[in-house]
Symmetry: C2
Subunit: 322 residues, 2 copies
């Protein structure tokens, strides 16, 4: 048995989360196709509720909880998209959500999570403090941890984006995709995507993309074991986590290549999507786009699904235009 | 007989231009609905070819030309979205397009028009110089003028956006719209929109929106005659033209109200759409959004179609984020 959820788990997740998420559109762009030398089909999870694909995994995990367990609430640590998705989904289910955030998290992110009904608990900005604060909450409340990626239920939820993308490309009366690409951080999205892609009758090639400054997945997949974080700054703030043993084992069997991009290439590709497609994507979503436009992956002449993971960013601090 | 094209002309335009334009999607946004106190249906012409609705009028006018006339080419003056649409459509028809631009037009706009195959001819930045340069080109080449709005063929084309919007809202199995809104500059888009809206079995309310700094349509509709341009700067660079006698007579009979917004409200509303809807709109498109969000029009509790006219702007000079 392979590690991780099966295609059937992903299909069940799709049925389960259907009422709680948007079926996001698929867009195309002739100008970007020309640059990439490939035919690109963009799955617009930037239009997803809370602005990212994280709603998929969070809602699958939270709606899978038995009634009594769910009633005690959920807890997670994150200052980003996963926190917003957990908070919003918990509110949808009518249960409390505790979100552990470091004291140095941006005020705007805290406000966003509170806006979705999450109860923010502060901790010092260290791993130890975060873990002990989470432990305290769990002991006090009995809340269930919803990990952002080291969780089969979450991975199954993330795999539904690729499922919809494949269906919608078929509905366009177009030939099936040859390949699919997603950014990789902790590996939840790419794991779900890869399971969906490799379970098709004609399996797709699976590509990941990562900032050079956060290339632990690239190194871990090369060595076959968990490599430490690069610990350098990246503008792609959603891609700073590292693989877990679960996501490594899923990806190890299924990923064909990881494309790396530099820090300056990320805002360049982000701006290209803003200008040409007229949609807002966040820096993390620009990483796979950059890898394709700059030919860092063997994608030429292929029909490639691109998961645009989210559209949340701070408009007071844009990497261009000032 | 009323002035301007009929609903039948607009329907014929829709059939004519179908192969040359995108059928743009309709989007909704719960957060903006809540602010407006209305149910908003956004027609995303920012996703249109060349990034604006101008493709509709340009392609209707250009594909209506008899073969022999068309062969001599088309000419227009503009440094904005209409120029790009004329250049691209002319290339599609295989005929030359001359675009008269003032010497002080931004280099990026000139490059965009040339990228679509337009032949840019420079003139001094005065009305006289522009007119005489256009006259010279017409005498030399026999090219047909494609005016940005003082032209029934162009107005008929612009009215197709509202037609699609009404159809697509019906396809959503939703009740028909109560009202529709578009920005007003020379009045071509609002004229076509108003003719479509007022020809329905249950006529819609028709709203326009304008910057206070360019409120000539507001004043002209109040007085019933063409009032001079306000001649103040507005960030909504697409809204600096003034009504013609043709568009005034169309709008005079059909527009229920014009909402005015200040200069600071325009980037505020633009940012709201970028942040909440994750789509890029240009300042001109933010003007109707601002008027709705700020309750400058009697739109509360209505189902309102909003024509997002375009998504072209200079990402090197954004009004926020620097």
């Amino acid at each position: 048995m392979s590690a991780g959820p099966s295609l059937e788990d992903i299909r069940a997740a799709a049925r389960r989360i259907y009422p709680y998420i948007h079926r996001t559109p698929v867009m195309t762009c002739a100008a970007l196709d020309e640059m990439a030398g490939a035919r690109l089909f963009f799955k617009c999870e930037n239009f997803q509720k809370t602005g990212s694909f994280k709603m998929r995994g969070a809602s699958n995990a939270i709606f899978l909880l038995p009634e009594e367990t769910a009633a005690r609430g959920v807890v997670t640590h994150s200052s980003g998209n996963h926190a917003a998705a957990v908070a919003r989904t918990a509110r949808e289910r009518g249960i409390p959500a505790w979100i552990v955030m470091p004291t140095n998290a941006p005020r705007t992110k805290r406000i966003a999570v509170e806006g979705y009904g999450g109860q923010v608990t502060e901790c010092a900005p260290t791993l130890e403090s975060r873990e002990s604060e989470m432990q305290r909450i769990r002991e006090r409340t009995g809340a269930t941890l919803i990990h952002p990626y080291n969780d089969e239920r979450v991975i199954a939820g993330q795999g539904t984006a690729a499922l919809e993308l494949l269906e919608d490309v078929r509905d366009l009366d177009a030939p099936d995709l040859d390949a699919i690409i997603a950014p990789v951080s902790g590996g939840g999205l790419l794991s779900g995507t890869a399971i969906t892609a490799k379970s098709q009758q004609r399996p797709l090639r699976v590509f990941g993309a990562e900032p050079q400054n956060a290339d632990d997945a690239f190194r871990s997949l090369a060595s076959g074991r968990l490599e430490p974080a690069a610990d350098a700054y990246t503008i792609a703030d959603g891609l700073r986590a590292t693989l877990s043993s679960l996501t490594l084992s899923i990806l190890n069997e299924r990923v064909d290549a990881i494309g790396l991009v530099t820090e300056s290439e990320i805002p360049w590709a982000m701006r290209m999507v803003w200008e040409r497609m007229k949609i807002i994507i966040e820096p993390s979503s620009a990483v796979p786009v950059a890898a394709l436009l700059l030919h860092r992956l063997p994608a030429e002449r292929l029909r490639v699904g691109v998961i645009l993971s989210g559209g949340n960013l701070d408009f007071d601090h844009l990497p261009f235009g000032g």
